[in-house]
């Protein structure tokens, strides 16, 4: 019987983590600039286990977005959005397993911020496809997420500005004004009013992603006799990166609204910390009870069991890693006609949008990633 108790955790230890291998490979390919390989590695998330499926959809959706495959990206992110809704139910079996083993055995449900950003990227995708109606649908779903977790997500100015833009596109100025008022309040500034598109002019809207979002790492605390507490946290603090825009050789000062995704993600994780710590305490107690029970019959087995349970304690460091560190929406009102644009990121990378045509009275969208 003692042997069975010892073998079970080893088996669990071996099975955890295998399914996330394609995700790691895809992320590595993405950051080395090989987006096609990143997408191929994920293979439409067919081989990914249910517990990492949301992560896979989110990563693949973003890879496809930055490949310019906006329609495909939309399909994948809509799957992610549907999955998030299905995952609202708390599973007793998963909760029990996580109390015994660790949080990585649970299905990944996404941080509050990540749940919001699924809608953010869907909004961007729909805008890039000029599907204003569906963009607003996503905008409204994003508002529902904001309403659910107001404190965690108050720092996401980019998404709020995007929602306001979706209302503007559907000719709903009052709804747009309400969002701009909320945005101004959250940013602690005066009224935000986008420059109107007057006759003879059009608007170029850029969605600029810079850097990469911090990843989660585990912070470990070891208590006597052999209790390990492992808590996830974001690896480093970040700050919003700036961007400069030049059109036809002239510096522009367009309306720019940015979000430091790392900061919002950190706040989301912090706001979940109470439930995290309760589960940690419960798990430490359960593991201690198991070790003591094993020790009643065999002291060596207790030592072995304690070592296994110690090793099993691992923080859930899963997160959406292909996200940029900063997202900026830049709204540039330009004369109708053809323009050459130069966009420079804070880390001195430059993107060129040559020969971009701005039709009169219309909005044109582009997504960039540095």
């Amino acid at each position: 019987m003692v042997n069975l108790k010892a073998i079970f955790p080893v088996f669990i230890l071996l099975t955890i983590g295998c399914s996330s291998l394609p995700l790691q490979k895809a992320r590595t390919a993405f950051y080395s600039g090989d987006l096609a390989t990143a997408d191929n590695t994920l293979e439409g998330c067919k081989g990914i286990s249910e517990k990492d499926l949301l992560l896979c959809y989110m990563e693949d959706g973003l890879v496809l977005h930055y490949m310019g495959a906006y329609e495909e990206s939309t399909k994948v992110l809509l799957k992610a959005s549907r999955l998030i809704k299905r995952q609202e139910q708390i599973s007793i079996s998963e909760q029990s397993a996580s109390v015994l083993i660790n949080d990585r055995v649970k299905t990944y449900r996404g941080e509050y911020s990540e749940r919001l950003w699924v809608h953010t990227y869907l909004m961007i995708n729909f805008l890039l496809q000029y599907n204003y109606e569906s963009a607003l649908v996503e905008g409204k779903q994003a508002l529902e997420v904001y309403d659910k977790y107001p404190e965690s997500l108050a720092g996401d100015h980019f998404t709020r500005a995007l929602i306001a833009l979706c209302f503007e596109n559907m000719n709903l100025p009052d709804d747009a004004r309400i969002e701009y008022e909320k945005l101004a309040e959250e940013m602690g500034i005066g009224i935000i009013t986008p420059e109107p598109i007057i006759p003879g002019k059009g608007e170029l809207i850029l969605f600029i992603g810079q850097g990469r979002v911090p990843t989660k790492v585990s912070s470990n605390v070891v208590l006597p006799p052999f209790i390990r507490i492992s808590i996830p946290r974001y690896s480093y603090s970040s700050s919003a990166m700036t961007v400069t825009v030049r059109s036809d050789g002239v510096d522009l000062d367009p309306m720019k609204i940015s979000t430091d995704l790392g900061e919002v993600a950190r706040k989301s994780l912090e706001d979940r910390s109470v439930q995290y710590l309760i589960r940690q305490g419960l798990r430490a107690g359960v593991k201690e009870a198991i070790a003591e029970e094993v020790g009643e019959t065999n002291a060596t087995a207790e030592l072995f069991a304690r070592a296994i349970l110690f090793l099993l304690e691992e923080a859930d460091t899963r997160s959406w890693e292909t996200l940029p560190g900063t997202l900026t929406i830049t709204r540039i009102v330009l004369d109708s006609g053809v323009h050459d644009l130069e966009i420079s990121s804070e880390d001195l990378q430059t993107a060129y949008l040559d020969g971009i045509y701005i039709p009169q009275g219309r909005r044109v969208y582009r997504s960039l990633r540095f």
Binding site: L78, Q89, I90, S91, E133, S134, V137, Q141
Partner: protein
Amino acid sequence: MRRIHVRFLIIMTCASLLAMTGCMASTRNLDTETETHYDATYDFSDKSQIVNRLVTPLVSAPVFPVQEKPILIVYPVVNETSEHISTGGITDEIRMKLIQSGRFRFINESQRENIQKEADYQYQGYVDPAMLVEEGRQLGADYILSGTLRSIKKEQPRQWRLYKKERIYYSLDLSITDLKTGEIVYADQAEIAREASQPIIGW
């Protein structure tokens, strides 16, 4: 020891049978007239309900004299809800029911490009001249039929509970605009309000 093995076998067999029963695939036809809802969100039963509520009074509306058959053009119903709803299905069904009532005539706006393409082909010399469609004979619309689908969603506040309740209100505003004057000559609204609850805890 032997008794334990037998008991273990019985338990495993029962568990396997239970799992297999749960995994069996099944299909069945549903009556499209019967209301079926899995949750509070919009579904095909709502479409029929909304369309019926709007079409019945419109057919007998005194605004349009019985002896005349006004010509309508349908513009897509704007989706202002928080769900991805194909509103094309609503407009198609409204149009179909109005055509079947015999009170209205419709212009097929979605086929304009194809009509043009076909007419162009006929004038390329392949078609018998006696059978060519006469150009400049298309009907002009008297009215525009348009609508907006809206929703208001409310979830139960976050608190200790076993079930999560959700309320959704849908409204479809339909209007008919006179093309000559720009006047809205007819307007109506169909509403649906629904509450659904689902367990927060599952196996």
